[in-house]
């Protein structure tokens, strides 16, 4: 089982839910929020392996280049431009698709690589932990996410996704076999949850919802779940205490009260996914 944890809105508790569920169930944790990966702050695994993620980009051999401009014309990402008497490559815009090399008649294009991020893996207790980190200044997170997920061993995972519903989340969902949506009972939370539900539906995988910072009353997210027949796996109640644990980078399941909550959630999820 590869369970993606997503939310739509940021800061609803994806990392809290995924780290604590991973620890409770003894299942691997994968931090796919490569722009701002925070899960390791809480799990604090000992890092055993670290490697760079490379992206390729074109370099032009000026001896061979006849300045026909076909490469700049074919590039859909505007990563190549003809500027006076040279072809300029903007490496950060390059998607490494190879189209420029295909159209170059003089064989003037070769590829070289640069690091755009890194992958780290390690473990804590019996939980394997993986994360990708995008280098600051790099615009594209997808290649790091793809590489991170492509490298994982065959085992069960919780995949902590980035916020939103764009291509970053999509690349994580493509790999997932089930999804948990974490939300908060607010108008903003619900608005963005609905977008996340639309996205998950496209992938035809089983999914359900966890409400974090729950007010323990009837609220808009609970009625949304009921009306749309979406499974509510459970809730994590709102408390100043939980906020304080979070702020210090502590795991909620190390606290007795919250441990019971995550035990219950874990059982519910195991049951729902027949895990």
């Amino acid at each position: 089982m590869k369970v993606a944890i997503l939310s739509g809105k940021g800061g609803t508790g994806k990392t809290t839910v995924s780290t604590n569920l991973a620890m409770t169930l003894g299942v691997s944790y994968v931090d796919c929020d490569v722009e701002e990966p925070n899960g390791f702050i809480f799990l604090n695994p000992s890092i055993q392996k670290c490697e760079d993620v490379f992206a390729e980009y074109p370099i032009i051999d000026r001896e061979k280049c006849e300045l026909c401009g076909a490469c700049a014309k074919v590039c859909q990402f505007h990563a190549l431009a003809k500027a006076g008497k040279e072809i300029v490559a903007f490496e950060k815009l390059c998607h490494d698709c190879g189209a420029c090399k295909l159209v170059c008649k003089t064989g003037a294009i070769a590829y070289t690589k640069r690091s755009i991020g890194k992958l780290e893996s390690g473990s804590v207790k019996d939980v394997n932990c993986y994360r990708g980190i995008l280098n600051v200044g790099e615009p594209m997170a997808v290649p790091v996410i793809r590489r991170l997920l492509g490298n994982l061993p065959e085992e069960d995972h919780f995949i902590d996704c980035p916020p939103g519903t764009s291509c970053n989340v999509e690349s994580a969902l493509k790999y997932a076999t089930a999804a948990i949506l974490v939300t908060e009972p607010s108008e903003f939370g619900l608005h963005d949850l609905k977008m996340a539900v639309e996205l998950v539906k496209l992938f035809k995988i089983p999914y359900g919802i966890i409400i974090n910072k729950d007010d323990e009353k009837e609220n808009i997210v609970k009625s949304y779940c009921r009306e749309n027949k979406i499974l509510l796996y459970g809730t994590v109640p709102y408390s100043m205490e939980a906020a304080a644990f979070y702020s210090k980078g502590m795991m909620l399941c190390d606290d007795e009260f919250h441990k019971r909550i995550f035990d219950q959630l874990a059982n519910k999820i195991k049951e729902a996914f027949a895990w």
């Binding site: 940021g10 800061g11 701002e36 519903t165 210090k248 980078g249």
Partner: protein
């Protein structure tokens, strides 16, 4: 003058602050650049004065009647988006490499509509915003479009405020480019500080002045001091410290800016922050 409100970490209170500052500044043009979780417009009863299809990318399309299933396209696609002469639209990046190698010219690149872009007129000025198709690519491009689309309404000495998205990727880079000020909303948590450092490292590459606001600063006073010490080291001004205030949740759920809550401590702190920001902003010439 363009002020971009960013955070790195999600859920730190960008939208709440943007809505409040817009009220205090009276007339502000707003751009909701958090395109895949847009919430700012929810605060306003507005009328859409413009709706346009936004084409943010392209996808390959195979014409079945021309295709001879030679699979050359499959071999050349670096994204693994073509299998058995079918294009997986989720994986295709619209690069067109397949169109170049197809011996039958059976593949074309088609523009893909990725969002509806709106200009919404409200009593409190115009909002440029979008409804993005789920899973769409090119949110950086869309952010750039939303900002450009509202330019014609900008006046001299006017303020444009950007509600940014979390993260440090293309959408955020597009939200920092060509801004005069960046206000980073952080929170006193280990994650908040970690993410603040990353967004700051990014903002430093641009010619923009950074200000920092600590939201819910009293949730962990020790972390707040750590953030303030860090800001001091980096020679950044902490322009505001907003206390935890239950009224903020009430504000979000009643979809009224926090400035409408008379006795709210968060409102008071944001008012003080706005004075502080103005002091900094008026000393700078453009």
């Amino acid at each position: 003058m363009v002020i971009s409100v960013l955070s790195g970490k999600g859920g730190t209170g960008k939208t709440t602050v943007v809505a409040a500052l817009s009220e205090l500044a009276k007339k502000v043009i707003k751009v909701d650049c958090d395109v895949d979780a847009p919430n700012l417009y929810l605060f306003y009863q507005g009328r859409d004065i413009e709706k346009k299809d936004f084409y943010g990318g392209k996808k390959a399309q195979i014409n079945g009647s021309l295709c001879i299933e030679c699979d050359i396209c499959e071999e050349v696609c670096k994204f693994g988006a073509i299998k058995n002469a079918m294009v997986d639209p989720f994986t295709c990046e619209g690069c067109g490499a397949c169109t170049i190698v197809c011996p039958r010219k059976a593949i074309s690149l088609e523009d893909e509509k990725t969002a509806d872009a709106f200009l919404t007129q409200t009593e409190k000025g115009i909002i440029s915003r979008a409804r993005m198709g789920v899973g769409s690519e090119g949110s950086g491009k869309l952010v750039t479009y939303l900002r450009r689309n509202v330019k014609r309404f900008e006046e001299d000495n006017g303020i444009t405020m950007i509600d940014g998205s979390p993260g440090i990727g293309c959408a955020v880079i597009a939200s920092i480019t060509d801004t005069n000020f960046v206000l980073i909303i952080t929170e006193p948590t280990k994650s908040g500080l970690g993410d603040l450092k990353r967004i700051l490292e990014l903002a430093e590459r641009f010619e923009t002045q950074v200000m920092v606001c600590i939201n819910k600063y009293d949730i962990n006073q020790e972390m707040s001091s750590q953030i303030e010490d860090f800001a001091k080291e980096q020679k950044l001004s902490v322009v505001g410290k907003i206390p935890f205030d239950k009224k903020v949740m009430e504000s979000v759920n009643s979809l009224r800016p926090i400035t409408e809550f008379r006795d709210s401590p968060a409102r008071k702190a944001i008012e003080e922050m706005w004075i502080c920001m103005n002091r900094i902003m008026t000393t700078k010439d453009f």
